[in-house]
Symmetry: C6
Subunit: 278 residues, 6 copies
C-alpha cells in the first residue's frame, strides 16, 4: 500500500525542479522596499557560503513572514539565480492527502536526492503545511516533525554541498515545536506597511492612469499624516485587489483604498490607554 | 479499498453540475432586502474579474452567514448567471461517510478538473461540513484542512481562469483554523431582521390573503415600534413556518408570528443593565 | 468487511416498519396530561403539513425530554396514525456494535429509501444513541454527526414528501453540537409532576383497588399541599413501580409512594436561602 | 478476524451457567448483618415480579458497593434460588483482551439468548470491567456503553420474561456516564462496619478458639466504646486475613486486629473541626 | 498476525522459570537492614498461608518501593526459597514491543498455566512496565489493566493454590488506577537511609580496605551527627558506585561519598520554615 | 509488513559502526574549555569501569546539553578511543518514518547484538528523537519508552560487558518521563559562555588573520568587562557563523560578533528587579 503510494503519488512530484521554481515567479519580482532587496542579497551570500570550499558546505535558512507576504517568491528567486545544477522544490501541493509515512519517505528521498548531487538547493516550501499544521489543538504530524529534526541536522557527506531554503508563515509554531533553532539562518519577510510600498506595487502593475496614481498618493499621504492609521497588507492581497478594481468604473484608486479598508488592511490604530492601571 | 471508494462513491458525485446548481434554487430567488441584492451584484463583479484577461484569473470568495440564511441559494444564482462553460458543485451531501483520505482526493480532483477547463466556477458548498467540523472539541479533518490550505493558494496554470465560490455557516471556526484569510473576498449573508423583510417573504409566498397581510403588517410594526424586540430569522425557517400555517384555520398571520416567537426568532431584547458595576 | 456488515447486520434492520412502530406501543397510550395530548395534536398537524401539496413537503421535528418520559411512544403513535404508505423506524437497537461508517451508510440508506416513496415518515429513535453519545468527554461519532448535518438539510426531490420524526433525551448535547437548529420543529415531552398525573396512570393500570386509590389520593394531596415536595417521574419508572408492588401484601399504595420516594422521584424541595448573600 | 474471535473466544464463555453461579458461592453465604439479609429478600421479590403474568416481565436491577463487599455472592445466591430455567453469568473474566466490538457482540448475544427462553436471569457481573473502565481519564469503551444503553431499555418481546442482575463497584461512574438511571432498581451492598459484623464472620470461619473469640470481643468492644474508631472492611479482606492468621502462633485475634489496623480497615476517625468557620 | 506474535514472541518467554528467578539474584542477597529481613520473613509466611489446606489458597501480594531498591531481588528470593513446584517469572523484558492484545494474552496464559499446577508462584515483575505506564499523561494500557483487574480477583479453582508476587516502583499510579486494592498484602521496600546501611553494603562488597572502611565510617557518622543531611540511595546505585570507584586511585571512600553527593543520594535536608504563616 | 520493514529498512542501519562514529568527528575535536576535557576524562574512566573484571560490567551514561553543544562529538570520541571490539551507533537518522513497533524491534536488536559480544559500546544518539519526542503535547512514543525502561535495566548476562552511551538535548523531558534515573551516570555538556571559548574556536578554525583575532579579543573582553552581557552559543552555531563570514569583505571579526548578537547568542543580561515585592 505504501509501495503503491510511492509508485503512484510521489513520482510525479519530482523531476520538474525548473518549472517548479518558475511557478512562484509568475508575476515577476517587484523590489517594493529596501528590506526585501536586502533579503535577496543575504540569500546570494548564503549561496556563496554553500559553494565555498573551505566551509562545511551544509547551510540551512528559513524565510518566515505573514501569509501572502512573498516568501516563496523570494526563495524562488534566490534559488533560480544560484544556477546550482540541482534545484528541487519540495511543496505540500504535491502531497495532498499523503499519509504521514508517505510524507516522511518523500522528504527523506528529497534530501538523499539532493545530497547525491555535488551542489544542491532544496527548497522546502510552506513547511507548516508539510507538517500538516493546524492552529486548533495545535495539530501536526509528529512523524514528519521527527524527520525534519533529523534531516536538518544530519551532516552532508564530504564532497557534497547543500543549501536548504525553507519558508513558513507559522514561525511561532516552529519555535514551540523546537524546529526553528535547527536553522542556521532565520530571515523575516515583511508586509507592505508604508504608503510608498502600496504606490510602488500599484505603479508596477500598470493598471492605473497617472491621475489615479496622483489621487492615490494624496489619499495615502493624508492617511499617513493623520498618524492614527496602520497599514499591513501582503503583496498577494494587494495584487488581488488591483485585479479586482482593474475594470471598474469611477475612481479606481478610491475603490482600491476602500477595499483595503474593508479587508482591515488599512485600519485605525487602536488607541492605547494613556494611563497606567492603578 | 480507497480505489474502490473512488469507483463507487466519488463518480456519482460528478458530472451533474447543471442540476446541482438548480437544487439550491428550487424556491426561486426573493430579493428580500437591498443587502442581498448587493451581494448578488458583487458576485457578478467577481465573475467579471475572473474573466478579465489582464488579471491573474484566480479569484476566491467565501459567503458566510447563519445557518439557513440563503448562502447556497445566492452562490448558486451567481454561478448560474455566469454562464461559465464549467460549473461544478462540490457538496458534502455527495460524500457522507467518506474517509478523510477520500474527501481529500475528491477535493483535489474537483480542483484539477476545474483547472482543465479554460473558464470555471468551483462551488464549494458548506465547507465546514466538508471539513467534518463539529463544535464540541472542536473536531475537524486535519487532512481536508491541509488540502484546502494548499488548493486555495496554488496558482492556476496560465491560460486558465477559476472562480472559487465557497459557503460556510462557521466563519469563526474558519478564522481560527487559519482558512478564512486564504479567501480573497469574504462576504456576509444577513438574516431577516426587519418587519419589511418578513412581509416581503410572506407576500412572495402568495400564501396569505390581503387582510392577513394587513394584520401582519400591523402586528409587526407595533412590535417594531416598541423597540424592545429583536428579529432574527433565516429565510429557511421563515419559509418552513409559512408552510406550517398555510392550511391552518383562524388568524394565520397571528399563528405565524406566535410560531416565530416560540422559536425565539422574534424575541424581547435583553435589557442591558443601565448602571456600570461598582 | 463493510460489505459484509451491510449484508449481515443492516438488512434485518429494515423491512419491518409496521411491527417496529408497534413495539413502542405495547402498553397502549395513556393521555396522562393535557400537554401530552397537545403534543399528539401538533404531531397530526405536522403530518398534514407534510402532505399539503403547496408546501415544500420536507418537515423535520424532534421530540426531546427526560429518559423514560414517553417520547418514543408518542412518536410511534403519530407515525402510526398518519397511515403514510412508508413508515420506517431507524433505531440504535438495530445497530449495536456497528462501526461509525456502517451507521452512516445505514442512515444514508434510510433517507434515500424514504425519499424513494412519495409520502414517508422516517422515525429516528434516540438520536443521541445513533450518535454514540456519552456524557463523559463528551464523546460521540463525528462521522454520524456529519451525516445528520447533511441529511437533515438536503432538499427532498420534487414529487416526494418526507416527515422526519426524531427523539432524544440529550437536548442540550444536540444544541451544543449544532444539530438542534436543523430541526424545523422542536417539542418537549414532560415528566409526571402532579399528583393527578400519578393517579391517572395508577388508575389506568387497573392494579389498585378502589380503597387503595383513595388512600393514594389522600397521601399525594397531603404531600402536594405541604408545598415542600417536588414530583418528577417518567412514565416508564411509574409503570415499573406499579409492576413491582402489584402482588405485594399490605398497603400497596403506601409501598408505591415509598418506592417513589426512595428513588428520588418524590423529593423534598431544596429550600432556597431566603436572604441574599452579604 | 472478528468471525475468528467469535469462534475461538466467545464460545467457551457460554454454556456453563450453572457452574458459573457456583463459583461466587465457594465460601457459602454468611448473613453477617440484617441489611445483607434484606437485600436477599428484595432480590426474591424481584424474582417474583419478573414471573408475575400481569406485569411487563422485564426487570433490571443493579447491586453496587465497595470492591470485595460481597455483591457477586449475593447476586449469585438470588439467581440460584430463583430456579429459573435460564440463568447466564456474563462476566469480564470470560472476555480478557476482547476487542470492544467482540464485547458488544457477546453482550448482544447474551441478551438475545436470554430473551429466547421464556423465563431468564442475565447476571452481568462487574459491569465497569465489561465497560473497560479505568479511573484515570476516565477511560471506558464507548461502544460497549452504547450497547448497554440500548439493551437495558429495549423491550422484551411478549411472552418472554427477563430479570437483569448487574453488579458494580463504580456506582458514581455509572451515574456520570448515564447508565445508572436505566436500572429500575438500585441496591447498595454494605461493608462490615460493626464489631458484631467482624465477630459473626470470625465465628462462622471456625478458625478461632472460644477464648480467642472472647479476646476479640473484648478488644473490639473496647475500640467501639472509645467512639474514635471507624471500621470498614469488605467481607473479602476479612476472610483473607482470617486465612493469613489461621496457622500463626501467639494471640491470633490480636494479630488479626493488628492486620486490620495496618490495612486501614480499622482506623481512627478523623476529628471534624468543632467550630464553624468565621 | 496475532497468532504469529504468539508463535514467535511469547513462546521463548516461558519455560525458563528457574533461571529467571536466578537472574535477580546475581549479586546474592545482603540483609543490609532489619526491615529488609522482616520483609523476607513475611514473604515466608505468605508462602505458608498459600500452602495451608484450610485456607482458600489464593494469595496476592505486592512489593512496592523506589526504583533500584531491591524489590525484584527480594521477591526472587522468596520465590526461590518456597520450593514450589511451579514458579514463573512474568517480566516486561520478555515483551518489548508487544501489542496490548499480545500482552493480555500472555498474562492470561501465565495465570492459567499457574492455575494448572497444584501449587504455584506467579512473579509479576515491574507491573507498571507490564502496563506500559508513563508518567506523562499519564499513559498506560487500559486493556492490560482490565486483564489485571479480572485475573487478580478471579477465584482459583478448588484443589489449586496460587501465590501472586508482584513488584512495582509506581505505587501511587497503581492506587489511582484502582489496582492496589486488589492485592491482599501490600509491602514497602525501603532505600538505604542510614550510615550503617551504606557501610553494610560496602563491607559485603569486599572492595574496600580496612582503613578505607574506617575513613568512611568517620565521614558518614560525622555527616549523620550534623543532623542536616538526608541519605536516600537504592541498593542498585550503591553497588554501581562501588563498581565505579573500585579501581580508582586515592581515597576511594571519599570518592564514593562525593559521588553519592553529586547524584543527590546524600543531600542537605531542606530547612522547613520555622514559623507558621500569618 | 513489519518483516519487510526489517529486511529493507533496518539492515542498512547496522554493520557500519566504524564509519558511524567517524561521522560525528568530521570537524575533529577542539578542547575549547576544561569542562569539556574533563568530560572526556570521565568517559575514559567509565570505559575502564566497564572493562574491570570484578565489577558487574554493565554501565549506563547519558550526556545531556543544549542542541548543538557537541554531545555527539564527545560521545563519539569516547567510543572511538575505547577501542572496544564492538561499537554500535544507534541513531534516529537511520529510522526516519519507522513505526513505533519497528523502532522497538531495532532497539531490542541493538541491545541483543551488543550483548552477544564480550565487550561492547552501544551509542544511543539523540534519544529524544528515538522517542519521537515533540515539546507540544508533549508527544512521544510510549512503546519505545517502555523498551528503554526495560533494556536500560535488564542485567547483562555473565561474561559480557556493555557500556551504554546516550545523548539528549531534552534532559527535563527524560526526567519527567522517568528515564533519566535509569542511567547510572548523568553528565552535562556546556555551551560556549566565555570570550576565551569563542576565541579558542576561532583560532582553531584558522579562518582569521592575526589582526582579526586581536580585534575580536578586544571586542569580546570589552563586552565581558561591562558585565551586562551573557554569552551562550553552541559549538555548532559558532562553526556555522565562522563559515558564513569566512569569505566576507571588511572586518570579519566584527561581522561574526554582530551575527552572534542578531542570533541572540550574545545578549544583554536581563536586569533582575532589585527589590523584593511588597
Ligand atoms: N516581490 C514580489 N514581486 C512581485 N510579485 C510578488 C512578489 N512577492 C510576491 N509576489 C506575488 O504575490 C503572490 C504571493 O506571493 P508568495 O506566494 O511568494 O507569498 P507567500 O508569502 O509565499 O505566501 P504563502 O504564505 O501563502 O505561501 C504570488 O502571486 C507572487 O507571485
Ligand atoms: N433569496 C431567497 N429567495 C428564495 N428562497 C430562498 C432564498 N434564500 C434561500 N432560500 C431558500 O431557503 C432555503 C435555505 O436556503 P439555503 O440552503 O441557500 O441556505 P443556507 O444559508 O445555504 O443554509 P445552510 O446553512 O443550511 O447551508 C432553501 O430552500 C432556499 O431555496
Ligand atoms: N403515554 C403513555 N401511555 C402508556 N404507556 C406509555 C406512555 N408513554 C410511555 N409509555 C410506556 O413507558 C415506557 C417508556 O416509554 P418510551 O420508551 O416511549 O419512553 P422514552 O421517553 O422514549 O424513553 P427513552 O428515553 O428511554 O427512549 C414504555 O414501556 C412505554 O410503552
Ligand atoms: N455473605 C457472604 N458469605 C460468605 N462469603 C462471602 C459473602 N460475601 C462475599 N463472600 C466471599 O467474599 C469474597 C468476595 O465476595 P464477592 O466476590 O461476592 O465480592 P464483590 O463485592 O463481588 O467483589 P468485587 O468488587 O471484587 O467483584 C468471595 O470469596 C466470596 O465467596
Ligand atoms: N538485598 C540485596 N543484596 C544484594 N544485592 C541486591 C539486593 N537488593 C538488590 N540487589 C541488587 O541491586 C540491583 C537492583 O536490585 P533489583 O533489581 O532487585 O531492584 P528493583 O527495586 O527491582 O529495581 P527496579 O525498580 O529497577 O526494578 C540488582 O543488581 C540486585 O542484584
Ligand atoms: N569539541 C568539538 N570540536 C570540534 N568540533 C565540534 C566539537 N563539538 C562539536 N563539534 C562540531 O559541532 C557540530 C555539532 O556537534 P554535535 O553534533 O556533536 O552536537 P550535539 O550536541 O550532538 O548536537 P545535537 O543536539 O544537534 O545532536 C558538529 O559538526 C561537530 O563536528
Ligand atoms: Mg508560499
Ligand atoms: Mg447551504
Ligand atoms: Mg425512546
Ligand atoms: Mg464481584
Ligand atoms: Mg525490579
Ligand atoms: Mg547530537
Amino acid at each position: 500500500d505504501f509501495e503503491l503510494a510511492l509508485e503512484n503519488d510521489i513520482k510525479p512530484a519530482f523531476g520538474r525542479s525548473e518549472e517548479s521554481v518558475q511557478k512562484f515567479l509568475r508575476r515577476g519580482y517587484i523590489g517594493w522596499c529596501d528590506e526585501v532587496n536586502d533579503i535577496l542579497k543575504k540569500g546570494r551570500l548564503l549561496v556563496e557560503a554553500t559553494r565555498e570550499p573551505e566551509s562545511i558546505g551544509f547551510v540551512t535558512c528559513i524565510l518566515s513572514g505573514a501569509s501572502g507576504s512573498g516568501k516563496s517568491c523570494i526563495a524562488a528567486k534566490i534559488a533560480k539565480e544560484s544556477e546550482f545544477p540541482f534545484i528541487r522544490v519540495f511543496s505540500p501541493a504535491d502531497m495532498i492527502g499523503f499519509s504521514e509515512m508517505a510524507k516522511c519517505q518523500a522528504l527523506q528521498r528529497a534530501f538523499s536526492d539532493a545530497i547525491k548531487s555535488p551542489l544542491s538547493i532544496l527548497f522546502l516550501d510552506d513547511i507548516e503545511s508539510i507538517l500538516d499544521y493546524s492552529p486548533i489543538g495545535p495539530r501536526f504530524s509528529n512523524l514528519v516533525l521527527q524527520a525534519f529534526r533529523v534531516l536538518l541536522r544530519d551532516p552532508v557527506p564530504e564532497g557534497h554541498r547543500l543549501l536548504v531554503l525553507a519558508t513558513s508563515s507559522e514561525r511561532e509554531f516552529l519555535e514551540q515545536v523546537g524546529l526553528l533553532k535547527f536553522f542556521d539562518h532565520q530571515i523575516d519577510v515583511p508586509m507592505l506597511t508604508e504608503p510608498q510600498h502600496l504606490l510602488r506595487v500599484m505603479h508596477t502593475s500598470q493598471a492605473f492612469k497617472a491621475e489615479e496614481m496622483q489621487s492615490a498618493v494624496q489619499r495615502l499621504e493624508k492617511i499617513k499624516n493623520g498618524r492614527e492609521i496602520v497599514i499591513a497588507v501582503g503583496v498577494k492581497r494587494m495584487l488581488a485587489l488591483i485585479d479586482f478594481v482593474r475594470r471598474s468604473e469611477g475612481d479606481r484608486a478610491a475603490l482600491l483604498i476602500s477595499e483595503l479598508e474593508s479587508s482591515w488592511s488599512i485600519r485605525e490604530k487602536v488607541h492605547e490607554y494613556p494611563y497606567s492601571p492603578t
